[in-house]
């Protein structure tokens, strides 16, 4: 929480996606922290202690999204973690949501209404 708002960490290597999501989430009264790589994400996580994390699979660098999730888990994270993935990606990657301790997986393109409903349910 920061200034009475829930902090959400967004990790994606696509700056346009980050920007769109930030606008949607901020308009819905969330505090948004963004990071464009796994490394940056970890730094931001430690600095801001987010209430929820949304991370892209980030196919440009192989498995960098899943590695980020693994490191998060190793550091004793308790915040819900959602993975962003594309249908095509999931067919070929070996992401096992439950093994990684993920709270859920979102398909791209993100359905904004569904995302907001889910955040409301998780964080209030």
């Amino acid at each position: 929480m920061q200034d009475g708002k829930h902090v959400i960490l967004l990790v994606d290597d696509d700056p346009d996606i980050l920007e769109s999501l930030r606008i949607v989430l901020e308009a819905n009264d969330y505090c948004v922290v963004t990071a464009s790589s796994g490394q940056e994400g970890l730094k931001a996580y430690r600095a801001r202690n987010p209430d929820l994390v949304i991370v892209d699979l980030m196919m440009e660098e192989i498995d960098s999204g899943t590695n980020f999730v693994k490191e998060l888990r190793a550091s004793g994270n308790t915040a819900p973690v959602y993975l962003l993935s594309s249908t095509g990606d999931s067919l070929y990657s070996t992401v096992d949501a439950s093994a990684l301790g993920l709270t859920g997986v979102f398909q791209k393109p993100i359905n904004t209404q569904m995302l907001l409903a889910l955040l409301k349910a998780k964080l209030g």
Binding site: D14, D16, S20, L21, I23, V24, N28
Partner: protein
Amino acid sequence: MIASPRGRKLIPIERELQERLTWFIRLRWLAAAGILIGAWLVTEVVHTDLSAAPLYLVGVAVFAHNVGFSLYSPRAEGNLPKLRRLIFFQIGLDWLALSFLVHFTGGIRSPVTLVFMFHLIIAAILLSRRSCYLLAASASLLLGIQTVAEQFELLSPPAAPEIYSPVPGSFSGFFAWIALTGLFLVTTYLATSITNRLREKEEALYDSERSRGRSYREMEALYRLGQVVNSTLDFKEVLALIAENAAKLLGMKACFIRLFDKTGKKLYIGGAFGLSQAYIDKGPVELEKSLIDSETLAGGAVQALDVTIDPRFQYREEARREGLVSVLCVPVSAKQKVLGVIRVYSAAPHKFSKQEQNLLKNLANLGAVAIENAQSYADLQALNEEKIWFARMTHHQLRAPLAAISGALDALPYAGTLNEKQTDLVARARRRVQDAFETIRDLLDLAAAQRPLREQEGESVLLAQALERAIETARERARNKGIALQVEIPANTRVFAQAADMDRIFSNLLDNGVKYTPAGGEVNLRVDQQDGEVQAQVSDNGIGIGSEDLERIFEGFYRTQEAKSSGEMGTGLGLSIVKKLVDRWGGRLELESKRGKGTSFTIFLPAGDQ
């Protein structure tokens, strides 16, 4: 030609007869000499009452006609009937001379009559049995005529000399003994000539039998290998088998097949038999250091009697330790491209025959075919993998910007209030982006559906469970459109496939059903199982497909006129994906449709284990 152990070539019958004729003529020189010497002996040494002149005359006559024969006989070469006639003619003339000799040495009681025997023995070697009987009969006739002529005193031979009826105290008995010994010798010589001939024949026959047996075994092995080559794409397996067969068929200690690496400068192991692991692991052969291989590649088969001292050989010391002595090396080449070499090694010094070289060449050819087959298949697979990888990358590259556009469009209303016109434009843009997503997804699915199955891919899939999501999505769409969707899937129905592929097949079919059925219509999914086969039918009472389109709708990007004018978006790839996925799992697809009445797809798939 097959060589006998004596190095003599087996020859066709003309050549053989020709050879025997020459031998016959050679004998006659001896006979003529014998007559002249005999005439001299009986007239000058023994002093019989026989007159010398006619005897000498006969000897000279025999000599003369033999000169004629030796000059004429090469002309009959290669002509079988001519050769036979010549032999008959020679025997005839011989016997005429012999008849004179009989007459001048005392008539029918003369021991010279025995000489007729020689010709009969010679005839037995040269001519057929029938001809021999004919000759025997003519000899008898000749002597018979002489006997009758003497009996009726038409002929009056000189009185039988005393050596025929020995007078006590004379040495005539000795002469008879010597003459008889001569007869024995000639008879023995002639008879053994026959048996020698027979023995040679027998040996040649035995040789040819043995080599036929070997050829048969070789052919059988080549045939067996040919079958293996055609039935497997694992060329390593084939090469190992070829190495084993090469060593065994040639009776050699070991065999090695070496193939070029990508640089074309080193030869690595393709298959080996009878060699220790240490020898196999000794490293690649470098073409520059291995003259025997470069010679082989340049000129076909090359052999070395002792590889442990042959400077053309790279690993001499290792070969010595391994107990390898002689080597035969032939290239393994296919369609103008040299793939490597095959070598066989003996444990003792051995010179490889032409036949052995040919066998190894045949084996090398088989190996080349196996390698080419496997290579073509691997290339094809690599190409397919590359295609799928390319599709994946394209998919990702196209999706990322679309996802960004989609996100921006979603965020637009949160960045400020939009007027009605703007809201409508955003909605249109979002719909088109959604279409683009579907096209990309279908293209990827199509590429994935064409990937050949790997071994052990597929499992027993519980259909009701695998289709949950597809049915849920279709149900929602149907509800929105006012269409009744009915689903009947027995809870325990299983198919042998992959859940993701089943999801794609039925998502597509249900989606099509809902898309192309007007509001108020119905879409049904019914699954049934019969005798190890699962039958799943997706039917609707929608716009249907005209008969002229039935064939084409499984082609990629094809959409019927009705589908296009229905206002529904579609890529035209869905059915193409369905068809490929059904094929992939060994199923089949039936389609029934009538324009304006509805469509029914029935898919048959092998049932999975319970």
